[in-house]
């Protein structure tokens, strides 16, 4: 039916509204097959103009371009009713779903567009929260058509008996956690950071052994193994770098007097290294957040959002104050993907 072709091209918000048109439309627009086609059609557009950030509340930040090329920024509190507050961080984003952590390490998968959510159960083998440190990652496993949360945890008490980092995986399809085993790497020497999703794998900087330099690893969500990736030669220790995904490209970012950006194009293991001297940013801390086009990126600088255009070496302020820790900000797309398998539309 032609109507199907039209619906798959509608933004997720409109689809949600038009479910109320009739019972037939409701079942058509809630069908998992429809949701998948809708996702495929919209995800390849790489419209990363939405951010979500945790600052007690969850907040979405939307960038819209008007006809004159001006950028409007709208910040909105996510209304999850009884779950609205006590959010600590957003640790992953994939296909319109985000992984967010609430007080007491309670983990939720949320679709900020449909406001459906799923509480991830606690894992009975998880290390005690007070004595350990955990890093998370979230992504889609293409082979098994499954969404997975990965938790890397280690004891952070003085002289622990167990120095291993445990790799635990939650499968959304099964609704279960499993312990994969110990990571072959030492994850406790780099700053805790959530995994950066590119190309079906989560990326972290790790150490091989205590006195070994840092390496970049990818954890493949389908075969559940770590793989070491080559890194570009730079003047800095890799532990100074922050990882971020910009429009589906893995990016290493660091800032001292200059900003150094290493971009991996098309995931082909070769890097483009850019060094940017932006005098006005000399004394500022910068956090890269997302890209709106292939040539720019949005950063948080001194609690303000700025866009830097690499091609034109141009920096401008978006005129938005963000008084929260943007380190846990993630970009996300609007999708209809349900944060739980099985029970179709219920959150």
């Amino acid at each position: 039916e032609i109507i199907y072709d039209i619906f798959t091209r509608l933004p997720a918000k409109s689809v949600g509204q038009f479910r109320c048109v009739s019972k037939y439309w409701c079942s058509l627009l809630s069908d998992p097959k429809f949701i998948k086609i809708h996702l495929t059609l919209h995800s390849h557009k790489h419209l990363v103009d939405k951010l979500i950030v945790a600052s007690h509340f969850l907040r979405t930040i939307t960038f819209t371009h008007d006809a004159q090329g001006e950028i409007d920024v709208i910040s909105r509190k996510l209304d999850l009713q009884q779950l609205s507050d006590h959010w600590l961080s957003v640790d992953g984003s994939c296909n319109g779903l985000v992984l967010a952590i609430r007080r007491g390490e309670a983990k939720y998968l949320i679709n900020p567009t449909t406001l459906k959510y799923h509480k991830i159960p606690n894992f009975d083998l998880a290390l005690p929260v007070s004595d350990s440190c955990s890093m998370y990652g979230f992504g889609y496993d293409v082979v098994n058509d499954d969404y997975k949360v990965v938790a890397l945890s280690y004891y952070d008490i003085d002289e622990p008996d167990i120095v291993d980092t445990f790799v635990d995986i939650y499968s959304l399809r099964k609704g279960l956690w499993k312990r994969l085993g110990s990571s072959p790497y030492d994850h406790s020497l780099t700053d805790p950071a959530s995994g950066v999703l590119v190309n079906g794998a989560l990326h972290w900087f790790v150490s091989k052994t205590s006195n070994h330099p840092c390496v970049l690893v990818a954890f493949d969500l389908s075969d559940e193994t770590f793989l070491e990736l080559p890194v570009p030669p730079t003047d800095y220790n890799y532990s100074f770098f922050e990882l971020v995904a910009l429009r589906g490209r893995l990016c290493m970012f660091t800032k001292s007097n200059t900003i150094t950006i290493c971009l991996m194009e098309n995931y082909n293991m070769s890097w483009t290294v850019l060094r940017l001297t932006v005098p006005s940013l000399h004394d500022s801390l910068c956090t890269p957040l997302c890209s709106m086009t292939d040539d720019d990126f949005v950063m948080e600088v001194d609690e303000k959002l700025v866009v830097y255009n690499m091609k034109e070496d141009d920096l401008w302020d978006l005129g938005v104050d963000v008084s929260c820790d943007m380190h846990t900000a993630r970009n996300f797309i609007e999708s209809l993907v349900c944060p739980s398998f099985g029970n179709g539309t219920e959150g």
Binding site: I2, D5, I6, P11, G16, F18, C20, W25
Partner: protein, 163 residues
């Protein structure tokens, strides 16, 4: 019109819903998968299309002609033409889209579907029901339940017109 084909041009007649006849070069209709198969397999010279209004057929033939003239140098012009092409009242756009779907003109179909989607995305639920001539089969209780769950769907800033 300049054409690089050698020999005689084949002529084909399309008959619209109100029996109006359109005579055009056969090469033009090959953009339609449906007509291409009819022409190739049955070697017909006249094709009745009773389900398509003449007004709609005129528009589609206009598109086929423009598309056949598309070259790398007039791409911009074609884009503007496409924009104007879908700049008609919604009811007419839907007629065109349904006809294009029936005729299987793939490139145009995608363009039309996107155009319809862009036009209806900010419409209210009520307006969409009118546009697609759908009666709500929800009971008043179910509907008020829905209104509670997705309040934006019934918000006032949506477009209630059906054009």
């Amino acid at each position: 019109m300049a054409s690089s084909t050698t020999g005689e041009k084949k002529i084909l007649t399309l008959k619209g819903g109100d029996n109006e006849e359109f005579i055009l070069e056969e090469s033009l209709v090959l953009q339609s998968e449906l007509l291409k198969n009819m022409v190739k397999e049955e070697r017909v010279s006249s094709i009745p299309l009773p389900s398509i209004k003449s007004k709609t057929l005129v528009k589609i033939i206009e598109y086929l002609k423009k598309h056949a003239e598309l070259t790398p140098s007039n791409k911009e012009e074609f884009k503007n033409f496409e924009k104007e092409f879908v700049n008609v009242v919604l009811e007419e756009l839907l007629d065109i889209t349904v006809a294009v779907n029936y005729l299987k003109i793939n490139g145009l179909l995608e363009f039309c579907c996107q155009a319809v989607a862009d036009r209806i995305k900010d419409k209210s639920v009520e307006a969409v029901r009118k546009i697609f001539r759908i009666e709500s089969d929800f009971t008043p209780e179910e509907e008020s339940e829905f209104r509670k769950e997705t309040p934006e769907a019934f918000e006032g800033d949506l477009d209630d017109t059906t054009n």
